[in-house]
């Protein structure tokens, strides 16, 4: 009797050729066809106690939607995902699935796990391009109003959850476009902006109101939101304060924070200059400081803007690089060079104040530090000069104090992040929740979404039964 056997390998996702894509802003993976998606979906063993759902921070019913997909009912498949996740087209693309759902897939033990991310992405893309537009069911209106501050991943999750539970939701965004890091940070070639717009539009079709150009803390204060009749407020304002290295010469022309570089390139679409009005510096010999996802995004953007040489300079070794392995791999394929165990000590400029180079030191790895990673220590006498005309500083970001300064009763930790109850996301101020990077410091999209889910559950309880 032949048992149902899973096929060994996963169906590969087609990708643009590295030699071509390194100079364009189109998406790198081009997506499954329906036949590919069904072939991959058929690999799922439909576990009774699925580990994948446990591994998903927002607990999407993964075997459920995959079963609907194999049955060919794509409308039902996407509606099943939407019950738990308002941003499937985003999550399918940017989640680190290898340490989440796919990491817990039973097939991961023997070979390759089911490509859950690719399948989620396929369902969302199929619905967007060919779907019926049918919305998931929504609870009856409760008459309660919730203000969601910020429109990044955690905020959009809160908005999606609460609107389905029948509350009236208004999302307030300081920029002129909603999406937070999804629109200003993550580049077009990883996450097309039309897709983010579509996910936000899905929330609007569900009944959420999105107000842009609202700088909460300036245009309106937190207390005024309550005066205006909001019953609860969620703060998902992110960690948008760029860190610099604080080394001499940092204000020379040609040194930008990754936030500035990516905001110009992504949100303002400066890669189309002069078709659009915002310029972005076009370096020939570009250096990116740092080795997280933001550094990879910056380096790959610089390559696409026509740089001759793009280098990542990182003070630790390859093992400690915090970026997703897929991003590092993509960057290497596109010709980005890695200069490891190297730290800049000062910038060098010409008489017009333009960057021409950078003085660096070679490092060696010493004893492990508090984070458990081996601490880089400078090698004496190893100074050398690196020629570069554009430096993008991607060494992390801190808590933006704009909102918290105007609301002194919000308790902050010593780094300026909001202190919240770890289970519910409640802040020290009644009726105010927070989640995502403004609580944890810069982390991932899906962690922010998980925080949003917990806070939304807690807000729902509060609106029904009190604080």
């Amino acid at each position: 009797m032949a048992e149902k056997q899973a096929k060994p390998g996963r169906v590969p996702m087609p990708e643009q050729d590295p030699a071509v894509r390194r100079r364009n802003f189109e998406e790198v993976p081009t997506g499954y066809t329906a036949a590919m998606a069904q072939e991959e979906a058929a690999r799922c063993l439909q576990c009774k106690k699925p580990g994948c759902v446990e591994g998903c921070p927002v607990q999407v019913d993964i075997p459920g939607f995959i079963r609907l997909l194999t049955e060919g009912d794509l409308t039902a498949a996407i509606r099943s995902i939407w019950q738990k996740n308002a941003l499937p087209a985003v999550c399918g693309r940017v989640c680190p699935q290898e340490i989440q759902c796919e990491g817990k897939c039973i097939l991961a033990k023997k070979g390759t796990p089911v490509a859950i991310g690719n399948l989620e992405r396929f369902c969302a893309d199929y619905e967007r391009n060919h779907g019926t537009g049918a919305l998931p069911p929504k609870a009856d209106p409760t008459g309660k109003r919730v203000a969601v501050v910020g429109s990044g991943p955690s905020s959009l999750t809160v908005a999606g959850d609460l609107i389905l539970k029948g509350h009236a939701v208004t999302v307030m965004e300081a920029f002129h476009k909603p999406g937070g890091v999804l629109v200003y940070g993550i580049p077009e070639f990883r996450l097309p902006k039309a897709i983010v717009a579509q996910e936000v539009n899905f929330l609007e079709r569900l009944g959420a109101t999105v107000e842009c150009n609202m700088v909460v803390g300036r245009t309106v204060t937190l207390d005024e939101l309550f005066e205006q009749g909001y019953d609860a407020v969620y703060l998902g304002v992110g960690a948008g304060l760029p860190r610099f290295m604080n080394i001499p010469g940092e204000n020379l022309i040609g040194i930008l924070s990754a936030n500035e570089y990516l905001t110009r390139a992504n949100l303002m679409k400066a890669y189309k200059f002069p078709e659009v009005d915002t310029p972005v510096p076009m370096g020939k010999n570009v250096t990116v400081l740092g080795a997280g996802n933001v550094a990879m995004d910056s380096a790959r953007t610089a390559m696409r803007l026509g740089a001759e040489k793009v280098r990542i300079v990182y003070r630790r070794s390859r093992e400690e690089m915090p970026a997703r392995s897929a991003e590092i791999h993509h960057a290497e394929e596109e010709g980005i060079e890695f200069m490891l165990l190297t730290n800049p000590t000062r910038y060098i400029g010409d008489e017009r104040g333009r960057l021409t180079g950078m003085q660096c030191l070679k490092m060696a790895l010493g004893e492990p530090d508090a984070s458990g990673r081996r601490r880089p220590v400078p090698i004496e006498g190893s100074e050398f000069e690196l020629k570069t005309d554009l430096v993008i500083v991607a060494v992390g970001s801190g808590a933006n104090p704009l909102l918290t300064q105007s609301t002194p009763e919000l308790a902050l930790n010593k780094w300026g992040y909001l202190i919240t109850d770890p289970d519910t996301g409640k802040t020290s101020k009644k009726g105010v929740w927070a989640g995502g990077d403004i609580v944890t410091g810069a982390a991932t999209v899906i962690l922010a979404m998980g925080a949003g889910r917990a806070a939304a559950d807690s807000i729902h309880k509060y609106l029904n039964w009190g604080w």
Partner: protein
């Protein structure tokens, strides 16, 4: 859309005033604060300090000189047209208190920014002396309003076509030599603020300047607007735009303002060619 309810040309059409419907901003704005404006989908985000706000009408007023493509596009907007995005109020408000005699110094379109601050200084009970300057008589703006806002107004032009022949610093020196001034506020082109700060430093009079570096978001997210003040890096959009003029590194600011001069030129020339034919 943020509708333009009133449009006036000043200084022979080189300086434009727009009164814009923005009730949320008008309700909250204080002297010294700025807004970020974007006129259309492909446009860039430009910071401008508000010249006036009317919380009752729900409008804010900006006054700007046409210097490049974006301001040229702003100029082309008529009454009834609108800006796609207006964000604010941003930055810290001017610190206003009764200190005695305040000397307000304005140059070029900086006078538009100086006006609400001057008025607030007078309303706080200060004796307000004003010096305003322009390259020539035709470029001088808001003389009447500044007269009303201050106790004593002096005017100068670089070419001598009106008022004192020379720079505002000449008069600043004269005033400081003759009177006890508690506070100076200087707003205008960077070289002018630098020169005024140098003079007031000699006299030991605290001096506040309003800086105008390149900005993108205006909310502290990118550090594009960073300036050196007293050897420390500050973000003008959230820590300013007003700073102690004796501590600002003006040379670095001037240098950083030139970062995109080639791109700005390319953009403006492209626009001028299009509008010519």
């Amino acid at each position: 859309m943020f509708k333009i309810v009133k449009r006036t040309e000043m200084a022979q059409g080189t300086v434009i005033l727009n009164e814009i419907e923005a009730p949320l901003i008008a309700r909250k704005a204080k002297p010294g604060q700025f807004v970020i404006l974007k006129s259309h989908e492909e446009g860039e985000r430009i910071p401008l300090t508000m010249a006036e706000t009317d919380p009752v009408k729900g409008t804010i007023t900006i006054i700007y000189m046409v210097v490049g493509k974006s301001t040229a596009l702003f100029r082309d907007l008529k009454e009834g047209d609108g800006y796609q995005d207006v964000i604010g109020p941003l930055g810290r408000p001017t610190h206003v208190e009764k200190v005695g005699t305040v000397l307000c110094v304005g140059g070029g379109t900086g006078v538009a920014v100086l006006h609400p601050i001057t008025r607030a200084m007078k309303e706080a009970g200060n004796n307000v002396i004003c010096v305003i300057g322009a390259r020539n008589k035709d470029l001088l703006i808001l003389e009447d309003k500044m007269k009303t806002a201050s106790d004593d107004l002096r005017v100068c032009t670089d070419d001598g076509s009106y008022g004192h022949h020379g720079f505002v610093t000449d008069i600043v020196k004269k005033v400081l030599a003759g009177e006890k001034v508690a506070q100076v506020v200087a707003i205008g082109p960077v070289p002018m603020m630098k020169a005024v700060s140098a003079v007031t430093k000699e006299f030991g009079v605290p001096t506040m300047v309003s800086l105008n570096p390149i900005m993108i978001d205006g909310t502290g997210m990118c550090g594009g607007c960073r300036v050196s003040v007293g050897g420390e890096t500050k973000f003008a959009c959230v820590d300013g735009p007003e700073f102690d003029g004796h501590k600002v590194n003006f040379d670095e600011l001037m240098m950083r303002l030139r970062a995109y001069c080639d791109e700005e030129k390319q953009c403006y020339e492209g626009y001028c060619r299009l509008s010519d034919g």
